[in-house]
Amino acid sequence: MGNTVMKVGVQREDPLLRIRQRAEAFIRELELEPPPSPALGWSCSYVPQELILAAGLTPVRIPTHLEEAREQTQSYLPPNLCPYVHRLLQAGLSGGLSHLQGTVLVASCDPMRRLADIWELYSRPGFLYRLEMPRREDRPAMEFFLRVLKDFRLSLQDLTGRRIRAEDLRGAVTVLNRTRRIMRELDLLRAMPRSAITSAQLQRIALCVESMSRERFNEMGAAFLARSRKDLLRECRALPGMRQPRLLLAGCVVEDDGLPRLIEDTGGRVVADSLCSGMRHFRGQVEENAASPLEAVAARYLHRLKCPRMVGRGERVRSLVSQARESCSEGVVLHTLTFCDLHQMEVPAQQEALLGANIPCLHLEREHLSGEDSGQLRTRVQAFAELLSRRNRGLSVAATNADRNWNG
């Protein structure tokens, strides 16, 4: 009986396969988009991009996935700062950012503060804005952040020589809200019982979005979704889900598609993420009809899904568990970069909460941002997928504690 179904599946053209191929073509188109100009580089998901866009500049994530060598940066920063900070510095020192009008660095954590110093002293950066970002989100923090954003707006005006009016900001909010909506729709395609796009693909799209004109992305993304939606509605619902275990990928910045690809190549399937380089960056909209668009922007950045730099460990841990449940994830991959204190300090609490919720988790600590790292990593990821598949098939009905809090 099962065999018959399989055969029918093979004979009919799988619409999901078609969408994935179409997605591949869409990504290749995105990757061919010319770099935007004029543009301003940013380093941290907390940079309010609406203001940059309203100033007539395209906000661009400082590309860190292009550089491999980290040795040069070690004469400026100690090796025990996280690899993301080293890669950012590498990008700054290599002269590869000369097409940008400048950069915005955030006092998001201790290493980022030191990065800004080195950037300022040794890379002759031109325009560099060091953005303050509160770690609380109550009323005084909101008032302070609003004043910070006003100062940021002034600096941007000085840089471009043009005033940022309320309608400029409203326009930027509309554009970026649309981008975020499109990304959310793509995220939902990934979350479907049979993922219409892979997580590796979504990660590549996220990378493209942040290095191209947002208006152009919105057009292209909307067109892709319009084409895919039709197929999906018509045919996909009837098909059974995939066998690969559904996973939530959470934690530190992941710069390229290396890690999700590794997970997907070894038998797992990432259906949701909570990464500042992934969907955490795109979740949460700016209120479009607010009386003060600046306040609306401030509110979005202050109240969105929080990085561990913000106060609120309890809330963050709870939201991880509920995101795993909502996305029907069977397991969670907690990804941290070496020397990222902020994320690492929450790992035990996250593990305990996931254990309590009977959701197995795998903690991966990586020395690098991109690439597939070592064979050892591959083995751990694959073994985790195998373990979840075994649970799926009911082979270990009485999962032991060791199974549930599985650390590889």
Binding site: Q72, N80, P111, E120, P134, R136, A349, S374
Partner: protein, 680 residues
């Protein structure tokens, strides 16, 4: 999570210590310091009492606000040193690792977490973190609060001072005050603030005077003791107790000023923190080498007097005045000031391994110190975790640093070679794998040289050296002087003097390659980059940290993984077109990368080349830090590996000269220094 037994024993230990310090009070060398230390412990003891309103906070929280409300504060950064001093840190650190916390986070905060997990700590009703100087602190306090069900408040301190930042922080301090009022059932009035601030301001004045006296010659308060007094004071600011201890300290120092022994110690500025465990270089540095820190950054008084008419704003201003806040320029300014006021001769940065904000600033700090013409040394270590301690390298670095200060004191000098007594001079360089000896005559001409493998016993190596060199008929009783250098230099009992390999390589290389300005020395254990002046004197130097990455040991490990002899690695790599990528910085991980590459059937030639390139890249980092100037020369056993040299030439964009016997440079330099020392 906590065990009542552990809490009971922690209190027992505290009580015993308090009793001991009461009994021994009269014998204390610096009574005011001892009383402050005891008071800190007494406060910890008090926090254990049931119903006692106790607050655990970061050490940059303004303690005045706690004293106004009569709550007992404890700084989390003080708890860890107490545990380290009681040698309990390794044990509690292990607990945090078992609980899943990373090894890499600052051990001050991990230790406190571990102590809480084991139940050694009191129940604090309120935990207060501050965001401005350390991520580890605020994260660990929040975690602790969550685990114990206590309230957590973060004082979010903006990086840039200004009216908006002050308002924001003052608002948070008001909120903190509300919490304290809730905790104690008392609302402080203007007279409470006035009293506490008056005491704090008076103490501030006294501490400024103490710091001034510390800089005077022969002051009995220096180094770690002075640091402890300054830092522990932070928790007691606003109390009568501290004001009185500061008066006592000042009287004590004034009565003894100028009476100190005339040893003329080297005066240094100590940056970042001090190690607290028993394995630390301070007694050696202070007592054996005569180096004294006359200033440090953490006991520096950076704030203006407080204004009781607007207490919250005033405390906010104090916190925001911290020189470590915001761009590094603030810290650099403070360092320049401390260097100038202290009349220091060198600056030491103790890079506590988990301190990202402190260590992240070392490069600009080093550049600033060297701009004012002073020697700088960075020590890698851990203030709390003694298992991270590596004495060999630390000692070489410190001796190199002291040699630089000594050279500066002596002023420019010319070579003494040719002026010495007639006879032979011996230089011995004991490395991790080989021992080298060179004999020169009074004119510096080499008359003999030897190379032995050291093996595991330094005694046996010494015996062989004695037999082959000292007792050889042609040299018996004709060796006028001997200088020992290298990792095992202190084992050479017949040497008149020990000099670091840093100075010896500089001296030896300058003789062989006239005009050399930069030396890369890659030996079995260490990699060093040394900048030298025209006379073969050291200008500045950097060394690798404790790990083996980028050293000869690393190459050896990789050669073993590739199943080739170390000598074959270079020739093998030479055959490769393009190198395989070895990205890991850690030799253990790099080894697993190599294993993966082998498993993927990557040609061994390419892997060998990749390994050589990674060593070269690592050395390039050091060349950059020391400021590579031509001529660049290379010494140490690794310079026999042609591919490492070529790769280094490629990344450095300059020709690298390798002397004919690169392993002998240290011993040769030592022999030349023996001539100079003996002759002058």
């Amino acid at each position: 999570m906590s065990s009542p037994l552990n809490r009971f024993s922690a209190r027992g230990l505290l009580k015993a210590y308090l009793l001991r310090s009461r009994l021994l009070r009269d014998n204390s060398p610096i009574p005011a310091l001892d009383r402050v230390k005891t008071e800190t412990l007494r406060m910890l003891d008090k926090s254990f009492r049931r119903g006692e309103p106790a607050v655990l906070s970061g050490f940059q929280a303004p303690s005045e606000i706690f004293h106004v409300y009569g709550v007992t504060p404890m700084f989390t950064e003080f708890l860890a040193p107490m545990l380290a001093a009681a040698d309990m840190a390794p044990r509690v650190l292990e607990t945090t690792r078992e609980a899943g916390f990373s090894r890499d986070t600052c051990s001050f905060h991990l230790t406190v977490l571990g102590a809480a997990l084991q139940g050694f700590l009191p129940d604090y009703s309120l935990l207060v973190g501050t965001s401005h100087l350390c991520d580890g602190q605020s994260k660990s306090l929040e975690d602790l609060a969550r685990r114990s069900g206590s309230t957590y408040r973060l004082l979010d301190v903006p990086q840039q001072d200004g009216p908006d930042a002050r308002r924001y922080l003052a608002d948070q301090l008001r909120e903190l005050e509300d919490r304290l009022a809730g905790l104690t059932g008392y609302r402080a009035g203007p007279e409470d603030w006035e009293r506490a601030f008056a005491l704090s301001n008076e103490t501030r004045e006294l501490l400024l005077q103490v710091n001034r006296l510390r800089r005077t010659e022969g002051c009995p308060l220096y180094g770690k003791e002075a640091f402890s007094f300054g830092v522990l004071s932070l928790m007691l600011l606003g109390t009568k107790f501290l004001r009185d201890r500061c008066r006592e300290m000042l009287d004590y120092l004034q009565s003894r000023s100028g009476t100190g022994e005339g040893t003329n110690p080297y005066r240094i500025l100590w940056l970042l923190a001090y190690p607290y465990h028993k394995l630390n270089p301070i007694p050696w540095l202070e007592e054996e080498r005569g180096v004294r820190a006359v200033a440090d950054e953490l006991s520096h008084i950076f704030w203006d007097p407080l204004d009781p008419s607007r207490p919250h704003e005033s405390l906010a201003e104090k916190m925001l005045a911290n020189p470590n806040l915001g761009p590094i320029e603030g810290r650099l300014r403070m360092i320049r000031e401390l260097v100038r006021d202290g009349g220091v001769e060198g600056v030491l940065h103790y890079s506590h391994s988990g301190c990202r904000q402190g260590n992240g600033g070392v490069r600009p700090v080093q550049d600033t110190v060297e701009d004012v013409g002073l020697p700088f040394v960075e020590l890698h270590g851990d203030c709390i975790d003694r298992t991270q301690f590596g004495w060999g390298q630390m000692r070489t670095r410190l001796e190199g640093f002291i040699e630089l200060m000594a050279r500066k004191r002596r002023g420019p000098e010319s070579s003494g070679v040719g002026k010495g007594e007639r006879g032979y001079y011996l230089g011995v360089d004991i490395g991790s794998l080989t021992a080298k000896a060179v004999i020169v005559d009074q004119d510096g001409a080499v008359s003999d040289k030897w190379l032995f493998f050291t093996g595991s016993s330094s005694k046996r190596t010494m015996a062989r050296l004695r037999e082959r060199v000292l007792d050889a008929p042609e040299y018996q009783n004709r060796i006028r002087s001997c200088v020992a250098t290298g990792y095992g230099r202190s084992a050479v009992d017949f040497a008149e003097e020990e000099i670091t390999e840093i100075s010896c390589h500089a001296r030896g290389m300058a003789e062989i390659i006239p005009g050399v300005r930069t030396i890369v020395d890659i030996g079995g254990q260490d990699t060093k980059a040394i900048s030298v002046d025209g006379n073969g004197g050291v200008r500045r130097f950097v060394m690798n940290d404790k790990c083996a990455a980028g050293t000869g040991r690393f190459l050896e490990l990789m050669a073993r993984t590739l199943e080739v002899d170390i000598e074959e690695l270079g020739p093998l790599a030479l055959k490769a077109g393009n190198p395989a990528s070895i990205s890991s910085l850690c030799s253990v991980f790099a080894e697993s990368e190599v294993v993966s590459l082998i498993a993927e059937d990557t040609e061994p030639e390419r892997i060998a080349r990749g390994v050589c390139r990674s060593v070269a890249q690592r050395s390039k980092t050091m060349l950059d830090r020391v400021g590579a100037r031509r001529e660049i020369a290379m010494s140490g056993g690794v310079s026999y590996n042609v591919v490492v040299v070529r790769e280094l030439e490629r990344v450095a964009g300059a020709r690298i000269r390798v002397p004919r016997e690169p392993q002998m440079i240290g011993a040769y330099g030592a022999a030349l220094l023996a001539v100079e020392k003996h002759g002058s």
